[in-house]
């Protein structure tokens, strides 16, 4: 197989991986943007999303089948359920601290606590076992020479793109989207405009969490198995993607996720040293990038110290 086809194949793999990272990074970035919280529980919401999707597919599979129809239903239900879970986490864990103007460090520790809570709950509920996600999607697709792009891959990339377009429209065009951007700049001024700041922050959690859930369901379907610790690594990767793109920036999170996904898959094809060094390769490049652009690619204001 020529180099050209290897590159093309890896580009597609990188795009898929990057889409998952982007979807998770978006929620990370939105929450950071609006309340300056690094929500370490965000990766766990992705994991919970995968499990809710898996459970829904199990329940509805008998009626809707385990093809695209069943998966779409599982995706929507998971997005709704995890969106509400995100709102609950905001109300129960973070808002009481925000009301008291608690230091940022307290919020971060709370986030770690929420992460452990979600993680351990799912661990106990699943006995810590892997679950296999059975679908009827198969491997048919389009062949470009020796490179095969499955319909599953195409649908995943298109679905991610649609979700991002919808988010972009929501943030840019709707009043609540504008309110979110305004709260990130000056919450008290927003209150003087009649904006219910707490409610709008809750909505931000809903949107961010449901995007993570969408990524979780798609990753489960794509890789075929899920487990309770799947949120940990992707949480770190999505955080990285958000920082690379410029944390707080929505297009930045999208871009950061894609760059990270592409770099990682490129890392598996390194000549001479092999794929064992892929993380070193990826993070080496990212660290270099941050040296030259400390605020991330699309970040504007200086990154705040934690």
């Amino acid at each position: 197989m020529s180099l050209y086809y290897v590159i093309l194949q890896q580009l597609i793999n990188g795009l898929i991986l990057g889409s998952f990272y982007s979807l998770v990074a978006l929620g990370y970035s939105m929450v950071y943007g609006i309340i300056k919280l690094l929500n370490f529980a965000h990766g766990d919401l992705y994991m919970v999303g995968a499990f809710v999707g898996f459970g829904t597919l199990g329940l509805l599979g008998g009626i809707l089948g385990v093809g695209w129809l069943g998966i779409a239903a599982a995706l929507l239900i998971s997005m709704l359920a995890v969106g509400l879970l995100g709102m609950l986490v905001h109300r129960a864990a973070y808002q009481p601290l925000l009301n008291r103007r608690a230091p940022r460090m307290s919020l971060m520790i709370t986030a770690v606590g929420v992460s452990f809570t979600l993680f351990n709950t799912v661990m106990v509920m699943t006995n810590g076992e892997y679950e296999t996600v059975n679908t009827s999607l198969g491997y048919s697709g389009i062949s470009l020479g020796p490179v095969n792009v499955t319909y599953t891959q195409i649908v995943m990339v298109v679905a991610t793109a649609l979700l991002m377009l919808a988010l972009h429209w929501f943030i840019k065009r709707t009043m609540y989207g504008k309110a979110m951007r305004a709260i990130a700049l000056d919450p008290d001024a927003c209150r003087l405009m009649g904006i219910n700041v707490t409610k709008t922050i809750g909505l931000t959690f809903f949107v961010g969490s449901s995007l993570a859930a969408a990524a979780g369901v798609m990753a489960g379907v794509y890789y075929g198995s899920i487990q309770f610790f799947m949120g940990f690594i992707i949480g770190l990767k999505a955080f990285t993607a958000a920082v690379i793109g410029g944390i707080g920036s929505i297009p930045g999170a999208m871009l950061g996720g894609l760059i990270l996904g592409l770099l990682e898959t490129a890392g598996t094809q390194l000549p001479f040293i092999g794929s064992a060094w892929k993380d070193v390769f990826t993070f080496g490049i990212l660290i270099l990038l941050l040296v030259f652009k400390p605020t991330g690619i699309l970040g504007k204001s200086e990154i705040e110290r934690m």
């Binding site: 504008k178 951007r181 305004a182 700049l185 003087l192 405009m193 009649g194 904006i195 504007k300």
Partner: protein, 238 residues
């Protein structure tokens, strides 16, 4: 006797242990401009913040057209027709001029009405129309103040609380801002105007209060305050 738009009764407020308001009582009659004067740290901004719900009142009451709004949340007060334009304008610098105005009309249910009101603000401030797609942070100080006032007018409030609209502006621009406030007032908006620039404020207002370390120390008709020796000495550079 005309209707009273806003009444403060013995209002007290704290920042932690700092006793910022020590029992403020004042009245703003419907359709009038009333000014609240005082030097740095007197508690002028705190008074407005306590009215609009940003700072909780420790005791005392705020009545808006007879309705007790002391415990009302800030975002609910807006819909009643009481708008606070905070000190330093606080416009959203990364959002466009138009978006700033739209957010001023956040509580409006109808998108069409919101667009109509934006048009109305543009008629009031033609300079904002030209700059509607620019981000708010690129405006000059005077334009930012116009944007802040325009943003407040989006809901066509009954009462406007203005905190030092003249701050940091050149005399000519101050005159223009004051002319606009006068115009809004003549169209029916009641105004409580906080100023350090007593000269300008007393020209505009019918009535004035003077605040010192959290207490009202003097009040009266503007014409009388303008002649008062202590006022002239302390605030009019006499």
């Amino acid at each position: 006797m005309s209707e009273i738009a806003l009444v403060l009764n013995n209002l007290e407020a704290y920042y932690g242990k700092i006793h910022a308001l020590k029992g403020i009582s004042l009245e703003v009659p419907q359709g009038k401009i009333v000014t609240l004067l005082g030097s740095n740290g007197a508690g002028k901004s705190t008074t407005l913040k306590t009215i609009s719900g940003l700072v909780p009142a420790a005791s005392g009451t705020v009545e808006f057209y007879g309705r007790n709004i002391t415990k009302e949340k800030a975002h609910n007060i807006v819909a009643l027709g009481l708008i606070h334009v905070p000190e330093g304008r606080r416009i959203f610098k990364d959002l466009t001029v138009r978006e700033n105005l739209e957010l001023g009309g956040f509580t409006l249910k109808d998108e069409k009405l919101r667009r109509k009101r934006v048009e109305h603000v543009f008629e009031l401030f033609p300079r904002l129309r030209e700059r509607q797609k620019q981000s708010g942070g690129t405006l000059s100080g005077g334009e930012q103040q116009m944007l802040a006032i325009g943003r407040a007018m989006m809901t066509e409030p009954k009462v406007l609380l203005l905190d030092e609209p003249s701050m940091g502006l050149a005399p000519l621009i101050v005159q223009e801002i004051m002319r606009i406030i006068q115009q809004l007032n003549s169209e029916g908006t009641t105004v409580l105007l906080v100023e350090q620039n007593a000269k300008v404020a007393l020209k505009l207002a019918a009535y004035g209060y003077v605040l010192e370390t959290g207490q009202i120390v003097m009040n009266g008709d503007s014409s009388r305050l303008r002649q008062d020796e202590r006022i002239v000495k302390a605030y009019l550079g006499g």
